[in-house]
């Protein structure tokens, strides 16, 4: 030990802990772990796009799949719809997030907004979409509450509100779920931007609160939440369940259409689906490039505006607007869930009754036993995937801290590849690759697949608070005789308990919400609350959907509650540990 330490040389004095051999390879290992399946999956999905799918006797490469895709009359409309709704949902989410932060960060109201985040984040996308659809559809709850008085409707009006051809309902539904996510990421990132002082400076220079925040804080914050924003963009463009429920279907978005082709009995359509997956990938990359260009343009405009020396409006209107938007979107999600809860105990509930004729426990009795089994399965997968993701994320971050192995921009992008590449474009290939490699279809394979999607979110949520930790604490602990391991476990982890648990809760919720990976990699044999819920959603039985949506939300909410409660309990007598 002594001898090895001496030869370690003066240049890296003192950086030779025992674990020094394992830790430095963690980042590379993680990138490989995430990237190999994506690459293999992409290859396995894209080969059929060029005509190669031996299982149905196609082995001659060619462009026929693309030709038949081009022949599909809805192609232009579906592609445009994906692009426009994706960009609009992302822009809207970011704008609302920025407005809320500009108007309210640091105030008491913001504390309330912050507390509402966990329940909002834990409502699964599909459940939120269902709830929203039932709220706003012409026979939905809002119209029932207004009928027959004062609306005068005895029967629901024939209005195209949900599934409108412009995708407005889809954009609204996506934004309602993505704003909480971007807010969470922003709050985590703001630990690293000295926003209070920057804002005070800007206001002292005569800017209004909101405008001052936008010029002084937002640019730095945006640089930190750029990746989450890209993730939102890629997700919004390729989401399937939400788009089926809220989006138009004449035609649907490209992602929905390609999943339909993939599921078509006519196996030749798999080739066309693969071609559509290639196109979808291209669209996402194009949208990301466009967004990047818009970022540059917006920054240039902002700088030009700052140089004019003009001061922004000190508007009360903006504050009211942002609070209104926050209220409406969160109410829509939570009320939607509440209405689904009501459906789960409803007997007959015809229009225009605002409440069911009678209540019955029949739906719960019917689904209870299966629900229990599915919840257990869900929890086992989510716990293992989250713990693994947390271990990898801490490994990467510690490697960065101890060995300066900071992932450069390129590496960071690779970590997020599973979130940026559309799921439908690589999961079928992953399935094929796992089968070819002889990996069984059990719970372990599913857990490994979940890790692909859980890790980036955990890393996103943990990275900023981890780096914001005062490294001098570590130095002090080292000089007090603590080795790097002891510093990690006795000082850093306890101090970062709250963000680590929040990251774990986010990861857990992500795992709970996975549908396609569970279905494809599990071979259908691994039943989680989400696979069960989506299968039931196909049937449209609101009572069953209500039961499973509540179960899904509860499964995701519990870890968030723990993440909030546990640090308070553990550090109850430590004022310095309060958020």
């Amino acid at each position: 030990m002594e001898a090895r330490a001496t030869t370690a040389g003066a240049a890296r004095a003192g950086q030779a802990p025992r674990r020094g051999r394992v830790l430095p390879v963690v980042p590379a290992l993680t990138v490989a772990l995430l990237l190999l399946p994506v690459a293999a999956g992409l290859a396995g999905t894209l080969l059929p796009a060029f005509g190669i799918l031996p299982a149905i006797g196609r082995a001659a490469p060619g462009l026929d799949a693309f030709r038949s895709l081009l022949d599909w009359p809805g192609l232009a409309a579906a592609s445009r719809l994906s692009l426009v709704t994706g960009l609009a949902a992302t822009a809207l989410s970011l704008a609302v997030t920025a407005l809320i932060l500009a108007s309210w960060s640091g105030t008491r109201v913001f504390g309330a907004i912050r507390r509402a985040l966990s329940p909002l984040l834990s409502v699964p996308h599909a459940a939120a979409a269902f709830g929203l659809a039932f709220l706003i559809t012409p026979s939905g709850w809002v119209m029932r509450a207004l009928s027959p008085w004062p609306s005068g409707f005895e029967r629901p009006p024939d209005w195209l509100v949900v599934q409108d051809p412009w995708g407005l309902a889809l954009v609204a539904g996506l934004a309602a779920k993505e704003v909480p996510f971007l807010l969470l990421m922003s709050i985590a990132a703001m630990g690293q931007t000295d926003q209070a002082r920057a804002l005070t400076t800007a206001r002292a220079l005569g800017h209004g609160r909101e405008a001052g925040w936008l010029v002084a804080v937002f640019p730095r914050l945006y640089a930190q939440i750029r990746l989450p924003v890209y993730v939102v963009l890629a997700y919004s463009m390729t989401v399937v369940d939400v788009a089926v429920i809220l989006g138009p279907n004449t035609p649907s978005t490209l992602a929905v259409q390609l999943v339909r082709w993939m599921a078509d009995p006519d196996l030749a359509l798999r080739l066309q689906a693969a071609a559509a997956a290639a196109l979808q990938l291209g669209l996402v990359l194009g949208a990301l490039a466009l967004w990047r260009a818009l970022e540059g343009a917006a920054a240039a405009l902002g700088r030009a505006w700052i140089r004019t020396g003009r001061r922004g409006p000190r508007g009360r209107a903006l504050r009211v607007l942002s609070l209104g938007l926050a209220l409406v979107s969160s109410t829509a999600v939570l009320a939607g869930l509440g209405v689904l809860a009501l459906w789960s105990v409803a007997a007959l509930w015809p229009f225009p009754e605002a409440f069911p004729d009678a209540l019955t426990a029949r739906s719960w009795a019917r689904h209870g036993p299966e629900l229990g089994a599915a919840l257990r399965q869900t929890a086992v997968i989510a716990v293992i995937a989250t713990l693994a993701a947390l271990a990898l994320a801490i490994g990467c971050l510690e490697a960065e801290y101890r060995h300066g192995l900071r992932l450069r921009a390129g590496g960071l992008w690779l970590l997020y590849a599973p979130l940026l590449v559309p799921q439908v474009a690589f999961l079928p290939g992953v399935q094929a690759a796992m089968l070819a490699a002889g990996l069984t279809t059990g719970i372990w394979a599913v857990t490994a697949a979940h890790l692909l999607f859980v890790f980036p979110y955990v890393f996103l949520a943990l990275g900023d608070p981890w780096r914001a930790w005062d490294a001098r604490m570590g130095t002090v602990a080292r000089t007090l005789g603590a080795g790097p391991e002891r510093v990690l476990w006795r000082v850093r982890m306890p101090m970062l308990l709250a963000p680590a648990l929040t990251a774990a809760a986010v990861g857990f919720a992500v795992s709970v919400g996975q549908y396609l990976p569970t279905l494809l990699v599990g071979g259908g044999r691994v039943a989680t609350v989400t696979t069960e819920a989506v299968a039931l959603a196909a049937g449209g039985d609101r009572r069953a959907i209500g039961v499973y949506a509540l179960a899904q939300t509860a499964a995701a909410l519990l870890p968030f509650a723990l993440a909030l409660g546990l640090p308070r309990l553990v550090h109850r007598d430590r004022r310095g540990m309060r958020p």
């Binding site: 031996p54 299982a55 149905i56 006797g57 599909w72 009359p73 809805g74 409309a77 579906a78 559809t137 012409p138 026979s139 029967r155 629901p156 024939d158 195209l160 949900v162 051809p165 138009p248 279907n249 004449t250 339909r260 993939m262 599921a263 078509d264 009995p265 006519d266 196996l267 798999r270 409803a346 007959l348 509930w349 015809p350 229009f351 225009p352 019917r366 689904h367 299966e370 079928p428 399935q431 094929a432 089968l435 070819a436 279809t441 279905l519 071979g523 259908g524 044999r525 696979t531 069960e532 299968a535 039931l536 959603a537 196909a538 049937g539 449209g540 039985d541 609101r542 009572r543 069953a544």
Partner: protein, 399 residues
């Protein structure tokens, strides 16, 4: 010498694969005991899920087979799975043991050699199957050849809300006239959803001159001329549909939900007992009744099939055979359970088994068998394929 070689070669596949032989039923039962059968079946209906759970309970008691219901949102997911396994060279130990299947999915699997083989007609309970009266040996004009075993029959009916529509609408013209007078109160699931496509086929039967051309491949007929009246009908109907035809429900159950929400008054169903079952489950108002178009409606059967690489073939056969038992068939017919039509010929049953069927109350909205009218055969799949494509081009991508 050559004869010996030929005999050896002929014997090889059987011995090499050692698959269960349904003709030797005792051996099948023996092998099945202790097996776990993964039945991939659509999971969108609570009542079917409950029925499958009951089947699982019974085959476990009776034969020691444990049945796992893999709930699919689309049957094609299971087809994809088997296809992916074949791609990966996994020719044994597959994840799917039994699939609830019919029509296009069956045709696709059979054509691509993804199915185990002929077993259905060797099942012990096959002797009660009504081979001549029910559509159990031809599935969408494709001969089943025993590659799939029937377990339920279905026939198109229309559900209507008597609170809003006074009486049955006996023809496509009557439906069109009613829709013009009551715009926005009718829709059908969006093709290529199978129920939506079925509506188009039913409409085609209603307007076509010579129905027999539909049983041969579409390429053998003058497709344009045969379908012209259909498109004239749909063109006339679409502006009067729910949401003016700018949106459609995505599945049959969603369509029922629309009826429960009083958004529509008329809906198609492929199960004569569905309306009664939905009323019992609070999913439809008690004012809903059913009718069939004059001249008959399309009928078909639901089947189960075994993939070529299934892990528990013997167990899957045991489940398929149990589904054909009078006990299971009578239970499926009960509208409080499923309300599915039976595939059995009731005249061949023992008096005790017969009594099971006679005791069933068909339900308030279910037509008695003699009022159902003739079951029309499913057209050749090529018709459905082309009609779906045309429908999508005409109405499915209009925005």
């Amino acid at each position: 010498m050559t004869r010996l070689l030929a005999a050896l070669l002929a014997a090889l596949p059987a011995s090499a694969l050692a698959d269960p032989d349904p003709a030797d039923w005792d051996a099948v039962l023996e092998e099945a005991r202790g097996q776990t059968v993964y039945w991939n079946a659509w999971g969108g209906s609570t009542t079917t899920n409950d029925f499958i759970a009951w089947v699982g309970q019974r085959v476990a008691e009776e034969h020691g087979v444990s049945l796992e219901h893999v709930k699919l949102s689309d049957t094609a997911d299971a087809v994809s799975r088997v296809l992916a396994e074949k791609t990966a060279g996994r020719d044994a130990g597959g994840a799917v043991d039994l699939i609830w299947i019919n029509g296009e999915n069956f045709a696709a699997m059979k054509e691509n050699d993804l199915l185990f083989g002929s077993f259905a007609e060797d099942l012990p309970n096959w002797r009660h199957v009504d081979v001549s009266g029910k559509p159990v040996t031809v599935d969408f004009t494709v001969p089943t050849d025993g590659y799939e075993s029937p377990w339920a029959t279905a026939q198109v009916v229309f559900m209507y809300d008597t609170a809003d529509i006074p009486g049955p609408l006996p023809s496509m013209q009557a439906i069109l006239d009613w829709a013009e007078a009551n715009p926005g109160r009718f829709t059908y699931p969006q093709p290529p959803d199978f129920l939506g496509s079925t509506f188009l086929k039913q409409a085609l039967y209603g307007v076509v001159e010579d129905p027999d051309v539909l049983l041969a491949p579409a390429a053998q007929a003058d497709y344009e001329a045969v379908t012209a009246p259909l498109w004239a009908f749909v063109d006339a109907l679409t502006p009067h549909l729910w949401r003016q035809g700018r949106a459609y429900p995505q599945s049959g159950p969603r369509q029922i939900q629309l009826m429960a929400d009083d958004e529509i008054d008329l809906a198609i169903s492929f199960s004569p007992g569905e309306a009664s079952a939905a009323i019992a489950n609070f999913q439809l108002p008690a004012t809903v009744r059913t009718f069939v178009p004059e001249g008959g409606s399309i009928g078909n059967a639901s089947f189960v099939a075994i993939p070529y690489n299934a892990s528990a073939k013997a167990g899957a056969m045991v489940v398929a055979n149990f589904l054909l038992s009078p006990e299971a068939q009578a239970r499926a017919l009960d509208p409080d359970v499923l309300g599915y039509g039976t595939v059995l010929d009731l005249d061949t049953l023992s008096p005790g088994d017969r009594a099971r069927f006679d005791a069933i109350e068909l339900g308030i909205a279910t037509l008695p068998p003699d009022a159902l009218g003739p079951a029309l055969p499913e057209p050749h799949p090529s018709w459905m394929e082309r009609i779906e494509q045309d429908w999508i081009a005409r109405y499915g991508v209009t925005e």
